[in-house]
Point group: C2
Chain length 295, copies 2
Amino acid sequence: MNLHQMAEQALATHFEKVLGPTAPPRLIAAMRHAVFSGGARIRPQLCTAVAQACGMDAPQLTQAAGVAIEMMHCASLVHDDMPAFDNADMRRGRPSVHKEFGEALALLTGDGLIVMSYQVLLKSGQSHPSRLIALIQILSDGVGVPDGIIAGQAWECETRADLTQYQRAKTGALFVAATCAGALSAGADPQLWRALGECLGEAYQVADDIRDVIGQAQELGKPTGQDAQHGRPSMAHELGLGGAIEYFEKLIDRAVDSVPLVESGDTLRKIVRMESERLVPSSVCNSYRFVNATP
Amino acid sequence: MNLHQMAEQALATHFEKVLGPTAPPRLIAAMRHAVFSGGARIRPQLCTAVAQACGMDAPQLTQAAGVAIEMMHCASLVHDDMPAFDNADMRRGRPSVHKEFGEALALLTGDGLIVMSYQVLLKSGQSHPSRLIALIQILSDGVGVPDGIIAGQAWECETRADLTQYQRAKTGALFVAATCAGALSAGADPQLWRALGECLGEAYQVADDIRDVIGQAQELGKPTGQDAQHGRPSMAHELGLGGAIEYFEKLIDRAVDSVPLVESGDTLRKIVRMESERLVPSSVCNSYRFVNATP
């Protein structure tokens, strides 16, 4: 089973474990729609890859940590798609949660998934109490104030925002949570894996900005040109498309270099390179490399 | 300092502790607006009163538990007030969060407060790791699926809902969290205090239904007649006003009887009686006692 299949299976298992027979059926259907949506599952894959590099001595806990982080990510997508933010009708080629189930259930779906993330950790972490507490801390730091993804999203509501701080919080924070939680779930020092999460998080955000501009609507399964339309800060607008691509490549190099000297470090470095190719194919990089203004 | 003042001070202290200098200022202002709103602070008071009855040997932890529960309550009010649900412009005599800060920030305020609840517990519970984990579990059960307040709110989106199950989840769950967390934070068995939370939670919900019908808009600081307007299930509609008042009094009796035989049990029983008088004054009970239909 590859990392993606492992993540998908873990999500299905943990989702069912938390539910009880008394839960409201439409809420559950909406939560299911939000989670089982064909997502790339980058964060749980990253969490597991780091744990493997650290010897992964508690696979159940690693799995739960990855699932918890992915559920937080799904929760944020549901709320970000709502009319108060992006007003996006589609997500990954299907109707967004509020389009399919209405705004009330979309609101509760996000809330329910935030809490479910903690429930997933609680259900799997009882035999490792000190790691469990540290994982709950990492998860909360990645999501809440002052620097988690909720704070990141909130920077869109400020009249002035620092682009780096905005992107670090909006995307980077949950990538940092993924690498740190992966290490911690395997009993390793999470701080050594922080830089990898930071570089990858920023790289993903820049890749997203690039793809929003060059437009791969069909592949993304969501509308493009959203950053400009919503006046959101974007690296592709700040540096020009060529500059943003150059910056993306630098971030990937930094990510690769940040992997600590552990036995299976090479595997992880390879994963980062492959992921980079998936995000912004080198053919795209080459064709836009010398374009320094947005099209 | 009385229980209300203690709760208010604890909220202020813990709120500031979690914030950092890097948090987005408008989000923080909106979260502050949501939390410091002149609320009755019933849940943290109940949590502390139960802990005191159990010998309260870790007051910092008890305080954090009460704050966490109150923040979850505030989060739910912010989201419930939004146009997708009650579309309430006012809350406790002031503009609701979305009216003052817009829907985007209201959405994030609720999300941020949910996560902050966990952050508050984490900051104060490190010296009692096993109690901390159990408190996080109690908090999550009270809020998430299948039976917490989020599930309770979601029952409003179903075409068929059982009134008792709806009310138990929508209001009861967080009262149960308050009594159980109070006991647990003091090292006592939370299960002995479950019934008190259940009876009080239901009593509060019935009192709310009663007041929504008889109309105390000024005192409530929010519009009345909302249950009928939004087609929400209500005990005052199901039993008639007289029947609902009778049921309320029965629930208070049951709550008083459920208090376990502990040294300071009498103090707690008195608090329950006083609270009952504040919720639905006996003068109101007497004037409506024989009205068996809704006005």
